[in-house]
């Protein structure tokens, strides 16, 4: 589906419209209409805060703060923009606030965009059906690990776009950045996730790398069976 189609699909438009109607009702005094808004968007918000904070405790705190803040400031929401964009923006900020409180030495917002584009280092073809080589749960963990290692600014765009299926424009608006900047971050995020997955999914060219690959697969299988194995170097 092209960008334009995604942005203006009938489904997306009627969902946005439904949100606006609910906002009107809440502002008109129907407080339980807000619960309906929460039901519609708690998944999206939680996924966003989890993406930023990387731990469930902080993500939950940010989730609650997001909806409380949204409720208290609902009067400031401008109806020309999408409710989801506005809400996601609050969620991102809440997540970043908590992250900053945990790691005051790291200025998350000032994270530099990587300068030149890093050319991929792992250019090996993959096995054609990764889903057959790995159990679904294992593959899920591998993907989650890959996403977790992304820098925050890339992780949020990636999650919004490639997991939540939102348009690049929505992601850009939610982050308060331009579309080109959002596209640039998305490109880098996708390349980094690809690079991470390549470690597990590439078909090794030499016998030696085949052996190392086999060890890696066994280690994954063991940790899936006996719990996560921390430490140790990646092949």
């Amino acid at each position: 589906m092209s960008e334009a189609n995604q942005e203006h699909s009938t489904e997306a438009l009627s969902a946005a419209h439904a949100d606006l109607l609910l906002v009107e009702r809440v502002l008109g005094g129907e407080t339980n209409a807000f619960e309906e808004l929460v039901r519609r968007h708690e998944k999206r918000v939680y996924r966003t805060t989890l993406a930023i904070t990387k731990n469930e405790h902080d993500a939950e705190e940010a989730l609650q703060e997001t909806f409380i803040k949204a409720y208290k400031n609902l009067g400031t929401f401008r109806r020309e923009s999408r409710f989801t964009t506005w809400l996601t923006r609050i969620a991102i900020n809440q997540g970043l606030q908590i992250l900053r409180a945990r790691r005051p030495s790291v200025s998350v917002e000032e994270q530099q965009e990587q300068g030149g584009l890093a050319l991929p280092t792992r250019v090996e073809d993959w096995y054609s059906n990764p889903e057959l080589r790995y159990a679904r749960k294992q593959l899920q963990e591998i993907v989650e690990d890959a996403i977790r290692t992304l820098p925050e600014i890339y992780r949020v765009v990636f999650i919004m776009r490639d997991i939540q299926g939102e348009s690049t424009k929505e992601a850009a608006d939610a982050l308060g950045i331009g579309i080109q900047a959002a596209k640039s971050r998305l490109l880098r995020a996708r390349l980094m996730v690809r690079e991470s997955l390549s470690r597990r999914l590439a078909r090794p060219a030499t016998v030696k790398s085949q052996m190392m690959h086999l060890m890696l697969v066994m280690r994954d299988a063991l940790s899936a069976k006996f719990g996560k194995v921390h430490g140790g170097s990646d092949v």
């Binding site: 092209s2 708690e42 584009l117 991929p120 490109l187 996730v193």
Partner: protein, 83 residues
């Protein structure tokens, strides 16, 4: 109309847009031309496409029940205090 010869770096810069169907016709043709000649870039494009397929096929995400319950509990305190 000549199709410009793109470098690997130039093609890579357009990878994301290409996969989203978000490149102009002429640029897409130039990229396809490069891919037909460049094995490395073809692998990067294919494996990125596979990456997105795998990511999108992941288990549907659910908010854990207790998280949801605690959210509604906290909200009803806030909502009722405003009423």
């Amino acid at each position: 109309m000549t199709v410009e010869t793109l470098s690997c770096r130039q093609v890579l810069e357009e990878l994301s847009n290409y996969l989203d169907g978000d490149v102009a016709e002429e640029l897409r043709r130039a990229i396809d031309g490069h891919l037909s000649r460049c094995h490395r870039c073809t692998i990067v494009f294919d494996t990125t496409r596979q990456t997105l397929r795998i990511v999108r096929d992941m288990e549907p995400f659910d908010v854990p029940l207790q998280v949801s319950a605690r959210l509604y509990a906290r909200l009803s305190a806030v909502l009722s205090s405003k009423a």
